[in-house]
């Protein structure tokens, strides 16, 4: 078993062999991956050492102190948080060897081809078709939406319908799609904020070899659950200090602009401050549970809390800023690599935060999940349960 001391020793060895000051960024990241210090809980040879996940912090602290370059989780967040755990669990040895290293170093960006214009919260209703041709490859046709990083991505994780005669959850398969293949077209999707952080992706006769399938044919929904579970853990999983994030911006505004203060805004700010502090503590408690190996169900709810708070705090801030709240910094269409939830100004934060209760599972769907899986409440009757996908009303 690899312990903290062992990891610290290995980290020092890495730093000695590749001094960050004299090593190129990519070269260092590759060396770190090869030393098993990328994600220590992954298997040996795949960037890890089969160590407990909680020990990653030991490595990260040593490397940060030494000024080692990071792997920019902003633009590669989908690869790290969603594709990697799914490939690790369901991929073949060849897939793992080929895909995980450039994923982790950021040489290859990943995106996720899940949501469709007609299948958002009801994700399993998806209509993108994958049909097997004579040579055993799959030919994919359909349209995806809300695809972050698609314009940067080398690879995508894709779910598509492989059997329309089965009920909707059972006729889906899971693939790795090469975004450079003919038939893949990426178009920017401009949002409420003016920028195009997401894309629409049109798939027209895209040929995917059967070797790029993850999991069995028709088992794609099960594979996708691994991806989605990891997505929700990733959201709201970061450790933040008191007054970190959006409440810190609001509190700083309050201190800096005494002339704008009113009693009503003071009362509401204090309430939000308390709620933000309690959300921070709840996240901290969840992390302590995970470290002790007693994962609690709090994770299911953290995203709900953060979405509501981000919306309320940013709405408060626009109101507090009065005349400045009436202006917007820039409506120019930009294509950011990642989202900066506290960057830019209040109007942007207010508008962008509207997505927090929709992306990664709407708050309504998450409340259903908490009610049924955590509280054990009975499900609503389903009319789509044993009906072939092709027979569902659309």
């Amino acid at each position: 078993m690899t312990d903290a001391e062992d990891l610290r020793r290995r980290t020092v060895e890495l730093l000695t062999a590749h001094p960050p000051a004299e090593t190129g960024r990519l070269e260092f990241l590759r060396a770190r991956f090869d030393a098993g210090l990328a994600w220590v809980h992954f298997p040996e040879g795949l960037g890890g050492l089969d160590a407990p996940r909680s020990l990653q912090a030991v490595v990260d602290a040593e490397l940060e102190a030494a000024g080692a370059p990071g792997n920019d989780p902003g633009r590669i967040g989908i690869g790290l948080g969603m594709a990697a755990p799914t490939i690790l669990r369901f991929g073949s040895d060849e897939q793992k060897q080929r895909l995980l290293r450039p994923l982790w170093t950021g040489e290859e960006v990943w995106c996720q081809l899940f949501s469709e214009p007609g299948a958002g919260s009801d994700l399993a209703a998806l209509a993108t078709r994958a049909v097997r041709d004579g040579e055993g490859d799959w030919i994919v046709d359909g349209q995806k939406v809300w695809t972050s990083s698609a314009h940067l991505a080398r690879w995508a994780i894709l779910i598509a319908r492989t059997d329309p005669d089965l009920p909707k959850h059972r006729g889906i398969s899971y693939f790795v799609c090469d975004m450079t293949d003919p038939g893949v077209e990426v178009r920017p999707l401009r949002q409420i904020t003016g920028e195009a952080e997401f894309n629409e992706v049109f798939l027209t006769g895209v040929r995917i070899p059967d070797a790029q399938r993850l999991g069995e044919v028709g088992e794609g929904w099960k594979v996708a659950q691994t991806t989605l579970m990891n997505e929700r853990v990733a959201i709201g999983g970061a450790r933040i200090p008191r007054e970190g994030g959006m409440i810190g911006v609001a509190a700083a505004d309050w201190r800096a602009r005494p002339g704008l203060r009113t009693h009503d805004l003071h009362q509401r700010l204090l309430t939000l401050w308390v709620e933000a502090e309690v959300a921070r503590l709840t996240g901290e408690r969840l992390r302590q549970q995970l470290t002790m190996g007693q994962p609690g169900p709090e994770g299911s709810g953290m995203k709900l809390a953060f979405a509501r708070l981000a919306q309320e705090i940013s709405g408060w801030e626009v109101e507090f800023l009065a005349e400045d709240g009436l202006t917007y910094d820039d409506w120019t269409m930009r294509r950011p690599d990642g989202v900066d939830f506290t960057g830019r100004e209040a109007g942007y934060r207010y508008l962008r935060a509207k997505g927090n209760s929709i992306e990664g599972g709407t708050s309504e769907v998450l409340l259903n999940i908490v009610a049924e899986r955590v509280l054990g409440l009975p499900p609503e009757p389903r009319t789509d349960k044993d009906v072939a996908w092709k027979d569902l009303p659309r």
Partner: protein, 386 residues
């Protein structure tokens, strides 16, 4: 607590927000006792009697389990535990709305005495009696008093220790043998102890909103008190008692909210209307799921306050204010949802839901309303009012 400079709140380095094995063992013991002898149905049956609290249940909790002495060091006759363990007892007390003077005697009165010079026999002896559960003591302040205390003590002390004045709405006053009285003495603030049975002390019971936590008005008419502490020491002892009481009350509120949520989920999963369990309707599920998130968050806030008090963290005033501002409304909301989602049965006297609503609403006022705690927080974290 705040010397005027705005503190941008430095949280304790690593608050322990979990429960230890010992704490879980203590919880199991308290829960089993309360399930046997203080379940909501029994509590309901015992109300409206003339007895101030369930003396048998209190004795079992205080002496058999030893809960009364948790905050008292072993050399002074207690168990030498901390606010973390007392918080676990209060979670269970809240979960059963047990009519026992745990918060008032074992937490607030004990903390006030611990703030005095316990090398003195007239401090050590009552402390040991409270710790052993032999005596019930209360700090004579109105239940809504927030940390920071009343601006002016309602009682005046003469040079010879004669106390005069009236303190209203003191929790568990009727059942208390020992009264700790914060008074304005000839040389400033002072803390006295008085026997409740002494000449010149009168206790008038009032009908409380929360029948499980009796209230009384105390009138002192020349009652002879023993001076326990004076000046800054007296003030600090009372402040620490109120801060500890407010911080640990959050754990009681957590227990109240937990019972309400659990019972509501259990009931709505069974009760059918329109041909389905009502708990399967999304409109109801979402309310319960939202409440669950609030209860999970209240647990983190309450544990943080208990840990800050247990470790003597300088962050304790912030942790307590946050816990009270958050947990009090959660308990009230949980109790209100419990009544509403039970439908008609929730409005009846026979169903215990009303006991939890009354406790939750009364707890919301106790030891400072959420608004008072937010106001305190404004000063503590540098968010000044207009």
């Amino acid at each position: 607590m705040n010397d005027g400079t705005p503190l941008t709140g430095t949280p304790a380095a690593d608050p322990d927000l979990l429960y230890s094995e010992d704490e879980e063992a203590l919880r199991a013991a308290v829960r089993s006792l309360l399930a046997d002898r203080g379940d909501p149905a029994t509590v309901l049956a015992g109300l409206e009697s003339e007895v101030a609290y369930d003396t048998g249940l209190w004795r079992a909790l205080a002496t058999e389990i030893g809960a009364a002495g948790l905050l008292v060091p072993e050399k002074l006759g207690g168990a030498g535990a901390s606010a973390r363990e007392a918080a676990v007892v209060l979670e269970e007390v809240g979960r059963s709305v047990a009519p026992v003077p745990y918060l008032t005697s074992a937490v607030i009165a004990v903390t006030a005495l611990l703030g005095c010079d316990h090398a003195r026999e007239d401090v050590a002896a009552p402390l040991a009696a409270l710790a052993g559960g032999r005596t019930v003591g209360v700090l004579a302040v109105p239940l809504p008093t927030a940390p920071g205390g009343p601006a002016e003590p309602a009682v005046r002390a003469a040079a010879d220790g004669a106390l005069t004045g009236r303190v209203t709405s003191v929790a568990d006053a009727a059942g208390a043998e020992l009264l700790l009285v914060s008074a304005q003495g000839p040389d400033g603030p002072a803390l006295y102890s008085v026997e409740a049975s002494a000449d010149g002390v009168r206790t008038d019971s009032v009908t409380p909103l929360d029948l499980t936590r009796p209230l009384g008005h105390l009138t002192f008419d020349g009652a002879r008190g023993t001076l326990l502490a004076s000046g800054d020491r007296a003030r600090a002892a009372v402040e620490r008692a109120l801060l500890t009481g407010a911080g640990l009350l959050a754990s009681e509120q957590l227990g109240v909210a937990e019972w309400c949520l659990t019972e509501t989920v259990r009931y709505t999963a069974q009760r059918t209307q329109f041909g389905r369990p009502v708990g399967s309707f999304q409109a109801l599920k979402h309310r319960m799921a939202a409440l669950w998130l609030e209860v999970a968050s209240a647990r983190a806030a309450a544990r943080n306050a208990a840990d800050a008090l247990a470790t003597g963290s300088p962050d304790a005033p912030v942790a307590v204010a946050v816990a009270q501002a958050y947990c009090a409304p959660v308990a009230v909301r949980a109790a209100q949802e419990c009544v509403q989602l039970h439908g008609g049965i929730g409005m009846t006297w026979e169903h215990p839901a009303h006991l939890f609503l009354k406790r939750a609403k009364s707890d919301e006022l106790a030891l400072g309303s959420p608004g008072r705690h937010r106001e305190a927080l404004a000063g503590l974290v540098g968010l000044d009012a207009p």
